[in-house]
């Protein structure tokens, strides 16, 4: 079902944990749908992401996308971090099964939510960043296509 990369990131998730007094924290998803991701960012004065940690409640893909997303933003500046889309996460993982694509969206959203928190705390505006939806599943509805 999952690629080797996904399995690797699931089995050995990078950057699991918390950051005390983080520059920004974002939590997305909801327990109802079975995925919650929380991202902690430690951002320095040059707007470089010095450290990043995550915690995730969810399936294998949810864990792997969180892990990969943290890897992709680590050491980047916030502008670069904004470029880490769900597509980028998926590509870095060599793809996801169709039913799991929403996990990668969640990872993107979690990064954005943490950046939003950072921006709010510091009273700055990040280009292209909008307030995170509280539930990214809301507008998803599966309709089988034959």
């Amino acid at each position: 079902m999952y690629t080797e990369k996904v399995m690797d990131h699931f089995q050995h998730p990078r950057n699991v944990g918390e950051i005390e007094n983080a520059s920004g924290v974002g939590t997305v998803g909801n327990a109802k749908c079975g995925d919650i991701m929380r991202i902690y960012l430690d951002i320095d004065e040059n707007q470089i992401i010095r450290d990043v940690k995550f915690k995730t409640f969810g399936c294998g893909a949810a864990v792997a996308t969180s892990s990969m997303a943290t890897e992709l933003v680590k050491g980047k500046n916030i502008q670069e971090a904004m470029q880490v889309t769900n597509k980028a996460v998926m590509e870095a993982l060599d793809g996801l099964p169709p039913v799991k694509v929403h996990c990668s969206l969640l990872a993107e959203e979690a990064i954005h939510a943490a950046l939003w928190d950072y921006a709010e705390k510091n009273g700055i505006k990040i280009e292209g960043l909008t307030k995170p939806k509280s539930d990214i599943h809301e507008d998803e509805e599966e309709e089988e296509e034959y």
């Binding site: 699991v16 918390e18 327990a31 079975g34 995925d35 929380r38 995730t56 409640f57 969810g58 949810a62």
Partner: protein, 396 residues
């Protein structure tokens, strides 16, 4: 993979070697079509009759009340749809429960789109249908009650005899999906007033793609699959002779060993339940503790999600299943777990382990050891657990 501990016998079972051996001659040797005139093939008709005898014997039914199908799902579809069609002039109301298998529930939804009305009964927190609810739901236009014999996820064994008697007293047909119960626990169709009963081969160490529907003599339902005159004109299609032979053999073996197996398995089951409850915090046993299939264990582990758990168990060589949405590709967790009142996030963290004849105490010890470790690991990376711990610390 080195070690393989298969704890998913409710999903499917290994076909018993004796079953395969019984089937083999019917592929390349006695391959004839049982409807043929010549002796070479016509003999297969008697072979089929023999299997029917075996199955009828186990249920206390008559030979000609057993009809072979392609599996439990087809049997369920047949029972519901053909009854709906045959008795439409009497009424269009059907009673079932919220914890039925999708083979029943989705067929009910299909019938709802075609003008039928379905009452989905609630169950109690242990996953049991209340007979009084069944009786209260009966209306003059009720034509069918379909309640499963035992639930496939949480193993709860329903009060089928009471329900059957109520159905009989009200002159309503009674179907039971016994896919998980047949040949695992004793069933007598007369004692339970069962008019139709579904079963599937691959749940009892028989082959996949074969099952049967018991139809009591006198129930006037017609075919669901139309065509040739097979199965007394009620189920068309060239008979799956090897499959039928395999099913018969599997039923024979399962029935002969039922009591002993049930004793052994329920002992192991309770051992597994005991160790998990003693050693893993924040867990909940789903399903009734007593009225429970001998091989079913189902737990919810708070703060973690089922699919992750399954993959981690898989990495340890342990095969199990979960009611998590993620395992089915849908967004909602198991309708059964929601029906017994679990909140979504608890339902997502469920784990079903279903034992088989080969399961040993050592297997279960190894499983619990792994499980402890994995649950702890997943909790350590769960934001829900983090929140819970922080809240507890605050409250101290």
């Amino acid at each position: 993979m080195e070690k393989l501990i298969y704890l998913d016998n409710a999903a499917t079972t290994k076909t018993a070697p004796e079953v395969v051996e019984a089937m083999l001659p019917y592929f390349t040797e006695h391959f004839g079509n049982p409807s043929s005139v010549y002796g070479f093939a016509a003999a297969n008709k008697e072979v089929i009759t023999k299997q029917r005898d075996i199955i009828a014997g186990v249920l206390g039914a008559k030979n000609n009340e057993i009809y072979f199908t392609a599996g439990g799902t087809e049997s369920d579809n047949w029972a519901l749809i053909a009854t709906a069609e045959a008795y439409a002039s009497k009424g269009k109301h059907i009673i079932t429960s919220k914890i039925e298998h999708h083979a029943v529930l989705h067929t009910c939804e299909y019938l709802e789109k075609r003008g039928y009305e379905v009452t989905y009964l609630d169950v109690d927190e242990n996953g049991l249908v209340r007979p009084e609810d069944v009786e209260a739901a009966i209306r003059p236009d009720t034509i069918l009650i379909s309640i499963m014999f035992a639930n496939n996820e949480i193993g709860s064994i329903q009060p089928i005899q009471e329900i059957g008697k109520i159905a009989r007293a009200h002159g309503v047909l009674f179907h039971t999906d016994a896919v998980q119960a047949f040949a695992q626990i004793p069933i007598n169709v007369d004692e339970c007033c069962i008019d139709m009963l579904s079963a599937s081969g691959h749940k009892l160490n028989g082959p996949k793609g074969i099952g049967f529907l018991y139809i009591r003599k006198g129930v006037k339902i017609r075919s669901f699959i139309h065509g040739g005159a097979q199965e007394r004109k009620r189920r068309a299609g060239t008979e799956n002779v090897p499959g039928i032979v395999g099913l018969g053999k599997a039923v024979e073996l399962a029935a002969a060993s039922m009591e002993e197996r049930a004793g052994k398995e329920s002992g192991l089951r309770d051992y597994l339940i005991g160790r998990i409850e003693a050693e893993i915090p924040y867990c909940r046993l789903n399903g009734d503790r007593e009225k429970r299939l001998p091989n079913n264990v189902n737990f919810s582990f708070q703060f973690i999600e089922g699919e992750s758990l399954l993959i981690m168990l898989d990495m340890k060589g342990i095969c199990a299943s979960s009611g998590s949405a993620c395992t089915s590709g849908s967004l909602d967790p198991s309708h059964v777990l929601l029906a017994i009142g679990l909140p979504h996030e608890i339902a997502h963290g469920s784990l079903r382990m279903t034992l088989g004849a080969d399961t040993t105490k050592e297997d279960l010890d190894y499983t619990v050891d792994c499980l402890k470790e994995i649950v702890a690991q997943l909790r350590s990376m769960s934001p829900l657990y983090e929140d819970f711990v922080k809240k507890q610390e605050k409250n101290k």
